[in-house]
Symmetry: C2
Subunit: 323 residues, 2 copies
C-alpha cells in the first residue's frame, strides 16, 4: 500500500505530461478533415479482422450513436462499405474501400512524420529507451497482463558469468549480509569453470525475464557419473512463480539423461528456501562446516543426491514432485 502511494504521484505526473504530448500530436492530425475519434475508427476498421460496430464500441469506448453517425459519414465519403454478417443479421462487417485505405495510409504517414519529428533530435540511446519503456508500460497495464516474457536458455553467452556473479554478490549481501569477499569467492568459482569450460561437461540454465537474467542453475564438472550442481539462484522479484522448481527440474532431468549417478552441491544454512527444494528433490546433507570468511558467521553444507544406484524411491518421488 505504501509502495502504491509513493508511485501514484509519478504516474499522475506522467499522465498530465503525456496528455499534453498526445494533445500536440492530435492537433496536427486535426488539420485533416477527420476528428480524432474518426481517425481511430478508421484505423481500427483497417486493422481489425472482421470488424463490426460492436467491436469498435468496446475497443474505443465510443458512444454507439456517435459511432453510427461516423460510419454513415465514412460511407457517404466512400471510405468504407459494409456487408451484413452472415452469422448475425443485426451486425455488418466493416471494410475499407480502396479510397479508405489510401486515406488511412496518408494519415499513417502523417502520423509517422509527427512521431519522427518528436524523437528526431534525441540520441539513439534515448529513442531506444523511450520505446522500451513504452512497451513495458503497455505490457504491464494491458488487460491480461502477460507478465514478463520468461524463458530459460542453456547456452552460456559472453557476459553471463559476470551477470551471475553480480546477482550472487547483490542478493547474498541483501539477504545474508555477506561482503565483497563472498563475491570474490564466486569470481573464483567462475574463473575455475570458464578457463576449461566445455558445453559437454558444463551446462548452464539461465532464466530470463524480458532478456534480463533473473535466475540460474548449472551442472558442472561431470565425469565418471558424478557432477556438481552450482549457482542455483533466483532474483527475489521472481520467486514464487515456480521458476526455481523448473530450473532444478531441468538440471536433474539433464543429469538423469546424461547418466549421472551422483550429484553434489554446496550451500550455506542461510539458504532455507533452496535447501527445502534440494530436500524435496531427494538431496541429503553429508557434511557441514563453519565459515567466517564472508563478513558474517555461517555454516556451509554439502548435499548429495544419488540418482540411479542410490535410492529408487527418492528418485521417483523427485520426479513426481518436480514435474
Amino acid at each position: 500500500m505504501s509502495l502504491e502511494t509513493s508511485l501514484i504521484p509519478i504516474i499522475r505526473k506522467f499522465n498530465r505530461f503525456y496528455t499534453n504530448v498526445l494533445g500536440l500530436l492530435d492537433k496536427h492530425l486535426l488539420d485533416s478533415d477527420f476528428s480524432l475519434s474518426e481517425v481511430r475508427v478508421l484505423y481500427e476498421i483497417g486493422h481489425a479482422d472482421r470488424c463490426t460496430a460492436k467491436m469498435l464500441i468496446d475497443l474505443l469506448k465510443i458512444d454507439a450513436g456517435y459511432l453510427s453517425r461516423i460510419l454513415k459519414r465514412f460511407e457517404k465519403l466512400g471510405l468504407t462499405y459494409r456487408v451484413q454478417s452472415e452469422a448475425d443479421g443485426r451486425s455488418s462487417l466493416l471494410y475499407l474501400s480502396k479510397l479508405g485505405e489510401e486515406t488511412l495510409s496518408t494519415m499513417n504517414a502523417l502520423s509517422d512524420v509527427q512521431i519522427r519529428h518528436m524523437i528526431a533530435g534525441l540520441p539513439e540511446r534515448s529513442q531506444k529507451s523511450i520505446a522500451a519503456s513504452m512497451s513495458t508500460i503497455e505490457r504491464e497495464l494491458s488487460d491480461h497482463p502477460s507478465g514478463p516474457d520468461i524463458r530459460i536458455r542453456s547456452e552460456l553467452q559472453p557476459g553471463d558469468a559476470g551477470m551471475l556473479i553480480h546477482m550472487h554478490g547483490w542478493i547474498y549481501a541483501q539477504e545474508c549480509g555477506y561482503n565483497h569477499v563472498f563475491e570474490g569467492y564466486v569470481c573464483k568459482t567462475f574463473y575455475d569453470v570458464l578457463l576449461t569450460y566445455s558445453p559437454d561437461r558444463d551446462r548452464f540454465w539461465l532464466a530470463e525475464a524480458d532478456g534480463q537474467i533473473v535466475g540460474s542453475i548449472a551442472i558442472i564438472g561431470q565425469s565418471e557419473g558424478k557432477a556438481q550442481l552450482r549457482w542455483f539462484m533466483l532474483h527475489p522479484d521472481y520467486r514464487g512463480l515456480g521458476l526455481g522448481k523448473k530450473l532444478l527440474h531441468e538440471a536433474i532431468s539433464y543429469c538423469r539423461a546424461r547418466n549421472i549417478r551422483q550429484l553434489f552441491l554446496e550451500t550455506t544454512q542461510d539458504q532455507k528456501t533452496a535447501i527445502g527444494m534440494y530436500a524435496k528433490a531427494g538431496f541429503q546433507k553429508v557434511a557441514e562446516r563453519e565459515n567466517q570468511a564472508w563478513g558474517i558467521r555461517n555454516i556451509e553444507e554439502t548435499y548429495e543426491l544419488h540418482l540411479h544406484g542410490g535410492s529408487p524411491h527418492e528418485a521417483s518421488a523427485t520426479n513426481a514432485e518436480l514435474t
Copy 2:
C-alpha cells in the same frame, strides 16, 4: 533513420494504447461537475506560482476564449479569485480560494483512487517498472532533455564486481571477439583483488547512468609509490561524452594525491581509443607480448606512467589535457 523507422510503430502503438488508458481515467473524472479541461486548469492554478491566463494558455494549449469562460465560471462558483497584476495591468494573477483548494484536493483524492485502482492488482515489480518507465519517457521527451543522470561514485558495493565482469565479457566479445576464457580471466583479476580488498589500497570509480553502471576505472595494489590502473572501460552507448576522460582524470589525480609515482596498466592492442587516452595522459609502452588464449590472436601491452620523478613535462601536459 532506420532506427527511428523501427521505433515509430512501437510509439504509435503505445499512443493508441495510452489514449485509451487516459480516456478511461478521464471518464470517471467526468462524473464530477468539471470537464477535463477545467480540471487541468484548476490543477495548474493550484500548483503554478503567480499563475496568469497567458501561462495556462501556453501550458495547456487551450483556446484563450474558452479559458476565459472557464475562469469566469470558476469565479462564479467561488473556486478562484483574481488580483490584477502590478507588473502588467492587462493580466491578473489567479489564485484558488479556500473552496477551490478543497475542490482540488477532493479531485486529487479521486484521481489517486483511480490510479491506485489501475495498478492495484499488479505485482510490486510491475508497479515499480511502470513508474520507472514513465519517468524515463517523461525525462527523455521533456523540452530540455536532461539526458540520463550520470554520476561517478567510488565506493565498491556488493554486485559491482560482477557487473564489471559482465560488462567486460560482453563488450570485449562484441568488439574484439574474445570468448568466455577472457571473461574467466577477468573473474580471476577480481578474485585476486576482492579477497584482500581494502579501500585504502584499492580504489574504484564507477560511472553510473540512472543507477546503472556504464563505465569504470580502478587503482589497485598501491604500495611503495607504485600501483596498477585497471578495468578502464566504457559502455559503447556512453562514449564520446567525455566520461572516459573524466574517469581517467579521477584515477590519475588520485594517484598524484596519494603520492604514487609509478602507475602501470595492461591492455590489448585492440583498445585503440583507450590506448589513445593513455598516451595523451603520458603513459608509455614498456612491453608487449602475444596472447592466444581468448579465442582470437591479440597483442597484450604494458604501459607505464611516471608521475613525479619521471618527466615533469608529461605530467603537466597531462594535467592540462585531462582537466
